[in-house]
């Protein structure tokens, strides 16, 4: 077990180093000089050179990388080329917002997918199961931003039950926070929930045909209790795989949905950074997203080992 954990940790560390190099390199070779952008087209060549020196952009790329990566390790994300303020606190604020949104969406997806998937699998030959299948198929086909616009139209504009956009920190006004969180979390979560439902369904269907489920019933469990006690944990392995991928998808999906609902998360910070040519902000946000995705994958790998003893190498 510990062998596996150490192995996965080593893989995580290696992935992080490679990812940081790639992120740095891609943004370094992009055309467009941050100093020139910051000063505008009318600036003198002299002023641009001075600013490049000030930003440290005149140094070799290797030194710049070491400076940036070393800062990341210390939690120092550098100072914005545009706003001249430190990037770290901004990213931390935005990460918190996006984190809440993504986790809330995942919760919505799970609350939808687990019961729906199980019902679809257990009743796969009956009308109720087929109807649920059809509904989830529609859900899979709808992009999150479209779901968001639909939700705003119905619940915010027509029914006026919920605010159409905005963000309030949970500490400031918990009720307002929940009201504003609901629609973006639903639009991200329902779509992912529809996808997840189909994986839960097929995982449960596979498990339903397993011999050990019949053994469990032969021992004196009803079909339902046999599924809960012996089936769910075995069905969890493929579902956890998909959950990991979906968390990554949600992080990226949040970029778009934050735009739709005017939520000040990492996504809007990233898009603002791109618009302002604030390369450092873009680089930091991308790196934070990459780290989050890699961490999720790392946790998924550990979860596999926790769920399925066959994946543990040594005892």
């Amino acid at each position: 077990m510990w062998v596996t954990v150490l192995q996965r940790t080593a893989i995580l560390a290696a992935s992080l180093i490679i990812a940081s190099v790639v992120v740095f390199a891609v943004l370094a070779v992009l055309p467009g000089d941050p100093a020139r952008v910051a000063l505008g087209v009318n600036a003198t060549e002299e002023a641009v050179v001075r600013l490049r020196e000030q930003f440290g952009l005149d140094r070799p790329l290797v030194v710049q990388y070491a400076d940036w990566a070393g800062g990341l390790l210390r939690g120092d994300l550098g100072t914005s080329y545009v706003s001249k303020s430190p990037v770290g606190p901004q990213v931390a604020d935005r990460l918190q917002v996006t984190g809440i949104l993504v986790l809330a969406s995942m919760l919505v997806a799970l609350v939808v997918a687990l019961p729906a998937g199980v019902v679809m699998a257990v009743r796969h030959r009956r009308l109720s199961g087929l109807l649920l299948s059809a509904v989830s198929q529609v859900g899979v086909a709808v992009p999150a931003f479209l779901a968001g616009i639909l939700l705003i139209t119905v619940f915010a504009v027509r029914l006026r039950w919920l605010p159409a956009n905005g963000w309030t920190p949970p500490a400031a006004d918990p009720v307002m926070f929940l009201e504003q969180l609901t629609l973006p979390a639903l639009s991200l979560g329902l779509v992912q929930g529809a996808v997840l439902t189909r994986y839960v369904r097929s995982a449960i269907l596979d498990v339903l045909h397993e011999d050990y489920l019949r053994t469990a019933r032969a021992k004196g469990l009803t079909a339902g209790r046999a599924l809960v006690r012996h089936g769910l944990r075995n069905a969890a392995v493929p579902v956890v795989t998909v959950l990991g991928l979906q968390l990554a998808t949600l992080l990226i999906g949040a970029v778009v949905v934050e735009r739709v609902f005017v939520v000040p998360g990492l996504g809007s910070l990233l898009l603002d950074g791109v618009a302002d040519r604030d390369l450092l902000v873009v680089r930091d946000v991308v790196m934070v997203l990459v780290v989050a995705v890699l961490l999720v994958n790392f946790l998924v790998d550990l979860l596999y080992v926790a769920i399925d003893p066959r994946l543990r190498r040594a005892r």
Binding site: T215, A218, K219, G220, R310
Partner: protein, 332 residues
């Protein structure tokens, strides 16, 4: 019958298993006495496993069952009982050993917990710790080396033979009156088949449990069973003591099975004997006698279903043109 009604553990009457308008199993009657070991033989597709699953109440929900299956100690008919009531019967009054030990155990649960679970479900051990130590005892009884260690192991850490011993331990845990075994040694290496069989039979004998033993290995039936039922096309076509049926088969199908399992006997062309043709797909058996399209003795009157010939349901055959009673069959 070999035992009086009071000594009967299992009583099956007019058992029919079907899907839509196709009958897959039509068993008129058979009984199993307390502690009796009965073999159920026949080719794949003859309805042996369906019969066993019907007794267990574990048939796929798409199948229709009718008739009557009564079990000693259970005050309701097993046919038509809902899953909740059957769950209280399964694992306590009747238990089952399956064919495939590699997949019969939950891969994510420790072996000891899987054995203990069936005792906890039926309340035969008061506490979790009592059930755990009883599980270790059971693992010792089925001759698993180092049972304490095995109880903490996951199934993938045990061999196929050991896993089947675990399945047997689960089946024996609550001292059931009847043990249904569906090809329990078929998937095992020949080297461990005899040992596992021994554990199974002695474990059942120690508890006075009757055996319904499904197999297509006639040698196993000859060693394990006292009585045998021969199934073909969903029907019991012959029944009797192992001695009678194996030495003096009356139904041509039984005779064919025996001839086919005799690896010394060859036909005129020097090949091993077989039964002509193949088992038809479900629902494609001929009407009348189900065996008549493969039977060497078949005549026109076989289009009418043959009645049971014999003193009672435990001994006799269903055939219009049986093999002569004196013939020694299959000895070329």
């Amino acid at each position: 019958m070999t035992a009086g009604a009071t000594g009967t553990v299992l009583r099956v009457r007019d058992l029919a298993v079907g899907v839509r308008d196709t009958d897959l199993v039509l068993v008129d009657a058979f009984d199993i006495a307390r502690g009796e070991r009965v073999g159920l033989i026949g080719e794949s597709g003859s309805g042996k496993s369906l019969t066993a699953l019907a007794v267990m109440g574990l048939l796929d929900e798409g199948l229709q069952v009718s008739g009557s299956v009564r079990l000693a100690g259970v005050d309701h008919d097993l046919v038509g009982a809902d899953d909740r009531r059957m769950a209280r019967v399964r694992g306590r009054h009747v238990a089952m050993v399956f064919q495939e030990p590699m997949t019969a155990l939950n891969p994510t649960m420790r072996v000891g917990d899987q054995v203990a679970e069936t005792m906890l479900l039926h309340g035969s051990r008061g506490s979790r710790s009592a059930a755990r130590s009883a599980a270790v005892d059971l693992l010792r009884q089925v001759h698993i080396p180092d049972p304490e260690q095995a109880a903490r192991a996951y199934p993938h850490q045990l061999s196929g033979g050991q896993r089947q011993r675990v399945v047997i331990a689960i089946a024996l845990a609550n001292d059931p009156a009847l043990l249904v075994c569906d090809e329990p040694t078929t998937a095992l290496d020949v080297t461990v088949q005899a040992q596992v069989l021994d554990v199974l039979v002695s474990g059942a004998a120690a508890r006075g449990a009757a055996l319904l033993f499904i197999t297509h290995d006639l040698a196993v039936v000859a060693t394990v069973c006292q009585r045998v039922l021969v199934m073909y096309g969903g029907h019991v076509v012959e029944a009797g003591t192992v001695q009678d049926v194996f030495t003096r088969p009356r139904h041509p199908y039984t005779a064919g099975l025996l001839a086919a399992s005799d690896l010394d006997a060859v036909d005129d062309r020097g090949r091993l004997r077989t039964i002509a043709g193949t088992v038809p797909a479900a629902g494609h058996f001929p009407d009348g006698c189900v065996f008549r399209n493969r039977c060497p003795n078949a005549q026109d009157d076989c289009a009418v279903a043959p009645p049971w010939t014999g003193p009672h349901q435990a001994s006799g055959y269903a055939c219009h043109h049986p093999v002569p009673a004196v013939a020694e069959v299959g000895r070329g």
